[in-house]
């Protein structure tokens, strides 16, 4: 049983996909099975009413981890356990989960009106009855900056950012205790994004909602997070209180990630991408996965995988972290 304020606890969770070519090809080309380790031995704990964020390179396993949390994929190894959240009467119950997907359009049924889409969880979970349903839909739409009259329109009639807000309104309709947000505001311009993020923080303060938050926008992550994990090739390389990591990142990859943020005050028009071989989750390097691109790497890094550990609140997986 997780500690009392823990809503979610993952222990040594892995998710491996079999991406082997068809049997015949394998035989002809004398190749073995190919296993893609999308998530590889990750542990973390999320406290109720806080935001736990995951950042890292595209393809490092963030969405897979999100899908593991909401049960859309099953772990190959390890466990995910949930604490409790109080219901309307304050009695503890299993927390309700909801996910905001990375592809907003793909998650909206094109044949449903916005009203149908946002009202579905209200019907499904019996959160509202009768006329209260329409009223609630209107309320949610205006909360995310859409108009009540948008309820009768179809998803294709909206712009990309408007569609993303429809899926946010739908997620908020569920009144879920734990909201897993995979790039929830990536399609929003700064002004609307500010509005949605301020709304999410407001709801969190009011209802003690918990967020698992994934975003490539580090300014947004900094704004939202209590705790932060930096992920690299399926593993956490640094984790701890968000401010601690932002202020004093110790893992060479985290430092690189935080240093490369484009800034309109001092744009770097000759920005160079990370050099070195792009990591391949099908064929992980033996030691530290970041070693091939790391300027500090030594023989130890190439042979032995560093475990997460460290001083104070922040844990780092690096042989040389200062």
């Amino acid at each position: 049983m997780p500690a009392p304020d823990t809503i979610l606890e993952a222990r040594d969770v892995s998710c491996h996909f079999d991406v082997s070519p068809p049997w015949l090809t394998r035989v002809v080309e004398r190749r073995g099975r190919r296993i893609l380790k999308a998530v590889d031995g990750v542990s973390f704990r999320v406290r109720r009413g806080t935001t736990f964020s995951i950042v890292g390179e595209s393809g490092c396993g963030k969405s897979t981890l999100a899908r593991l949390v909401v049960g859309l994929v099953q772990p190959t190894a390890g466990t995910i356990a949930f604490g409790t959240a109080p219901d309307a009467q304050g009695k503890p119950r299993t927390p309700r989960l909801q996910m905001i997907f990375q592809d907003p359009y793909a998650s909206l049924n094109p044949r449903w009106t916005v009203e149908d889409i946002v009202a579905e969880p209200l019907h499904e979970l019996k959160l509202r009855q009768g006329a209260a349903i329409s009223a609630r839909v209107g309320e949610l739409l205006s909360l995310v900056g859409l108009a009540r009259t948008d309820a009768s329109r179809y998803p294709h009639e909206f712009s990309g950012g408007q569609r993303q807000r429809i899926s946010i309104a739908r997620a908020l309709a569920t009144e879920a205790d734990l909201l897993v947000c995979d790039e929830p505001t990536s399609a929003l311009d700064v002004s609307v994004q500010a509005q949605v993020l301020n709304l999410m923080r407001g709801l969190q303060a009011e209802l003690a909602l918990t967020y698992v938050f994934i975003s490539h926008n580090l300014a947004v992550v900094r704004h939202m997070s209590d705790d932060l994990a930096v992920m690299y090739l399926g593993r956490f390389v640094e984790t701890g209180p968000a401010e601690g990591v932002f202020e004093g990142a110790r893992h060479p990859y985290s430092r690189l990630l935080l240093d490369t943020i484009p800034d309109i005050e001092s744009p770097n028009r000759e920005r160079a991408p990370l050099t070195g071989e792009v990591p391949n989750p099908i064929n992980r390097p033996r030691g530290c996965a970041f070693a091939p691109r790391c300027s500090l790497a030594t023989d130890l890094c190439r042979s032995e995988r560093p475990e997460l550990g460290g001083r104070g609140d922040v844990a780092v997986a690096c042989h040389h972290a200062a």
């Binding site: 990309g160 929003l188 500010a194």
Partner: protein, 328 residues
């Protein structure tokens, strides 16, 4: 000066609905020279994607182009028939849609989709097309391309799919790339790789780019010029540095002000008060006036046109007055 690769002139798009016409784009004019990157920014719903969609002839009923023209390398392409337009789209214009999934067929392997596009438009052999496909996947940063090329789209991460779509758009060596939020799903490092690739193609092959994004960091580091859109119109247009640091239109100034800073955590992000008007309720006069901190009486009924020195113009009565004053 040589003629631009893309010239959009006075483009207007209207949706006919039960409740009357919605004027989604009004009198939009843009031009992009060879080797130039035009950034298009503006609030959600401003008409950025629609402008791109209109250029490539994919506005669907009940929407239609009701005015203006689109010229590609001196040739009118608005009003081409479906078949001719499809040819232009694959060969001369590469497109990255805002929803990357819509460009990928979930039932086909990633490599097949790339090879198909390459063979259709460049007439390469099967083997050469595969080599080019592998090269493109490497250029957009897909790890171990030889191992991933025969995977299906669902086996890729969101950002990897977005990169495959970029590879598809570049596959036929287009003269114009329309990229609608091409890097939203990417971390800064891979983003730098993609923008670096796009810049290189501009420089080396004179590709023109229309880059739609709400990420001002990307604009600052990539675009040469910027067009700011609001409620279906271009309200400011100028060199990237000038628009970011010396924005003339009050809307553009608000937009630049609401960018969250990396340097410190803020209690609340600043936002421009109010919302962009809905298409069925665009106010008289300047569409921005209800939210404008510096509006004057005339803004309620007079609609400003782009004004100011050529090269950096804004559609604001105050800017026009200033320009007239400076000119007098």
């Amino acid at each position: 000066m040589s003629s631009p690769v893309l010239a959009v002139d006075g483009l207007s798009v209207t949706f006919e609905t039960r409740r009357g016409p919605l004027h989604a784009l009004r009198d939009v004019s843009l031009s992009i020279a060879a080797g130039e990157i035009l950034g298009v920014v503006g609030e959600s719903g401003a008409g950025k994607s629609l402008t791109g969609t209109a250029v490539i002839g994919l506005i669907e009923p009940p929407g239609r182009i009701v005015g203006g023209s689109v010229t590609l390398r001196g040739r009118r392409i608005d009003g081409l028939d479906v078949k001719a337009m499809r040819e232009v789209r694959g060969r001369e214009i590469g497109v990255v849609f805002q929803d990357p999934l819509t460009s990928l067929n979930p039932l086909l392997r990633v490599g097949n989709q790339l090879e198909e596009t390459i063979r259709t438009h460049l007439g390469l052999s099967r083997g050469a097309a595969r080599q080019r496909a592998l090269g493109l996947l490497a250029e957009v940063g897909i790890p171990a391309p030889a191992e991933r090329i025969d995977h299906y789209p669902h086996q890729f991460s969101g950002g990897m799919r977005q990169r495959v779509v970029i590879a598809l758009a570049l596959a036929a060596d287009p003269v114009l790339l329309i990229a609608d939020e091409p890097t939203t799903a990417l971390d800064v490092s891979i983003q730098a790789q993609i923008t670096g690739l796009i810049k290189r193609l501009c420089r080396e092959r004179g590709m023109a780019v229309m880059l739609v994004t709400h990420d001002m960091g990307v604009i600052a580091e990539t675009a040469d010029r910027v067009a700011v859109m609001y409620a279906g119109r271009v309200v400011e247009e100028g060199p990237v540095d000038a628009v970011i640091h010396r924005a003339r239109h009050p809307y553009s100034r608000g937009l630049m002000g609401s960018i969250p800073s990396m340097r410190r955590r803020m209690d609340a992000l600043s936002q421009i008060d109010g919302a962009m008007p809905r298409l069925d309720a665009i106010p008289q006069g300047c569409a921005f006036h209800p939210r404008c901190p510096v509006r004057v009486e005339a803004c309620h009924h007079e609609r400003p046109d782009l004004a100011g020195p050529p090269g950096h113009r804004a559609a604001c009565l105050l800017v026009a007055a200033e320009a007239a004053h400076a000119g007098a």
